[in-house]
Symmetry: C2
Subunit: 293 residues, 2 copies
């Protein structure tokens, strides 16, 4: 939490980057039960402040997004890939709506990965992932991702264990190659509590306009909660490199989730520091030619 | 223009639907010089009112978009395809940013068509169009489209005249099939004046942060303005069916363009009247099962 002085104003001590606060530590055993999904580990302290802070980030995000896209038109091959993972109702869709909704949609390439089709299953699991990658200058958003292939695939034993075990290293190689090619990979685990999931599922049942979002299969998945937690812990442990780090975002509070992911995205875009490219033409000559028309 | 009484309030006389006002009349010879690209043929009378009116449409658009998407999860195959065409700087990108930016990005499938690749050229011209169509429940947005194949292709004589002439009917057949398959096709011609284009191109030259948007080739295209106008008139005349109508949106005023396209989209979504589907499960039983977890 940022320090406040008695007047309610922030102290001038610089805040640590949110990416440092939320980064899942590398090398260690990950124990998700050690973290509180309702926590506010940094940033705005309540909902009103959070909504205001998120709104204040929007123009900065939009500006950097435009610069990133502009830069790509001059050959810059960099791009961003935001990977959203989390249990049902953890807010993947809400993040797209509220965080990505702040950006220019023409520069966003969003893909929601569903149960693989027959054709997708006939290929290596990374085939469909590769096809959905963002282009230069774009911000890609994966609502679920290749991690499903070590999450539901592990919990439901969809592939033999030896094949599953190989996938972690395949993912690491894949993500290392992405990073080499100029893709900034930002992986977000939306950390929801078991109790909060129950509340959110009940809300869907209580509101007829949300019935379409509910599937009785969600209850069966929920029954596997401990197995999913273990599968997430393993993925966060085995696929967590400096080139493609995991961030754990407490997701019980929607306003905090939206602020935190906006801020993480902003910090990564700031680190890229994309610039508007100069024109490769004679501006004055073009102006004269235009004025003559 | 809507009638106003002396108090500045709208009269209670119902406004005609904007789709009727902006619809390019079928059957007739289209003469674009008969229309004023700065006109305000209906709706808010000035910029402040236009911005407010557009903002007021946003939640209604978002609500209908969600209903359309929800309905698709229960098998409704309907979808919307917004086709944006217009000369350079007419505001295709601005429309995506400001109009489509009001929607949930996860339900939008945006495609900007560039100069065809070698592979695209090796196929019939509608091949790449087909690949970019929105899925059920989605709103597709084409920034340029198959119409380039009768616009720049006509002006630059990229294909033999006989082949070009066949394309109009091919487009009509294609769009008729789309309509049969549940695609609501909304084609918008962004009508810009020759003078306003000069101003907008000069703005890009005057602002180093916009140099990347300018290409000296834009001046050569501009020199072909009369040929493009004729090509647009021909396309608007020969490919303008009730199933896939053209709307002419005066585009000199950006605020008006944004309002008009928002309103056109709203009217088409309202006509679809998508409904949240009921759940196909026992709600009470699911609630009991959940509460037991």
């Amino acid at each position: 939490m940022p320090k406040h002085d008695g007047t309610g104003k922030r102290s001038t001590r610089p805040e640590p980057a949110l990416r440092e606060v939320l980064r899942v530590p590398g090398g260690d055993r990950v124990d998700l039960t050690a973290y509180d999904p309702s926590a506010i580990p940094a940033g705005p302290a309540d909902k009103a402040a959070g909504l205001a802070a998120t709104a204040a980030l929007a123009p900065r995000l939009a500006d950097l997004q435009e610069r990133l896209y502009a830069s790509s038109t001059a050959g810059d091959r960099r791009r961003v890939l935001l990977v959203l993972q989390g249990m049902d109702t953890s807010g993947k869709g809400g993040t797209v709506k509220h965080v990505i909704g702040q950006l220019n949609p023409s520069g966003c390439r969003i893909h929601a990965f569903k149960k693989p089709t027959r054709e997708e299953r006939s290929h290596p699991f990374l085939w469909r992932i590769m096809k959905a990658l963002p282009g230069p200058g774009e911000i890609g958003i994966f609502d679920r991702s290749h991690y499903e292939d070590v999450l539901i695939a592990r919990v439901r034993e969809l592939v033999p264990r030896a094949q599953l075990d190989r996938r972690y290293e395949q993912i690491n190689r894949f993500e290392a190659s992405l990073a080499e090619e100029g893709v900034t990979v930002v992986k977000v685990f939306l950390h929801l509590s078991y109790e909060e999931q129950r509340e959110r599922l009940l809300e869907r049942l209580d509101n007829p306009e949300k019935h379409w979002k509910f599937n009785p299969g969600d209850i069966e998945e929920r029954a596997l909660w401990p197995a999913y937690r273990e599968a997430y812990e393993t993925a966060l442990e085995r696929c967590n490199s400096d080139e493609a780090p995991w961030y754990r975002v407490p997701a019980n509070r929607k306003w905090y989730r939206n602020w935190a992911i906006s801020k993480l995205l902003l910090e990564h875009l700031q680190a890229l520091d994309p610039r508007y490219p100069p024109g490769d033409y004679d501006v004055d000559a073009c102006r004269r030619r235009l004025l003559a028309t």
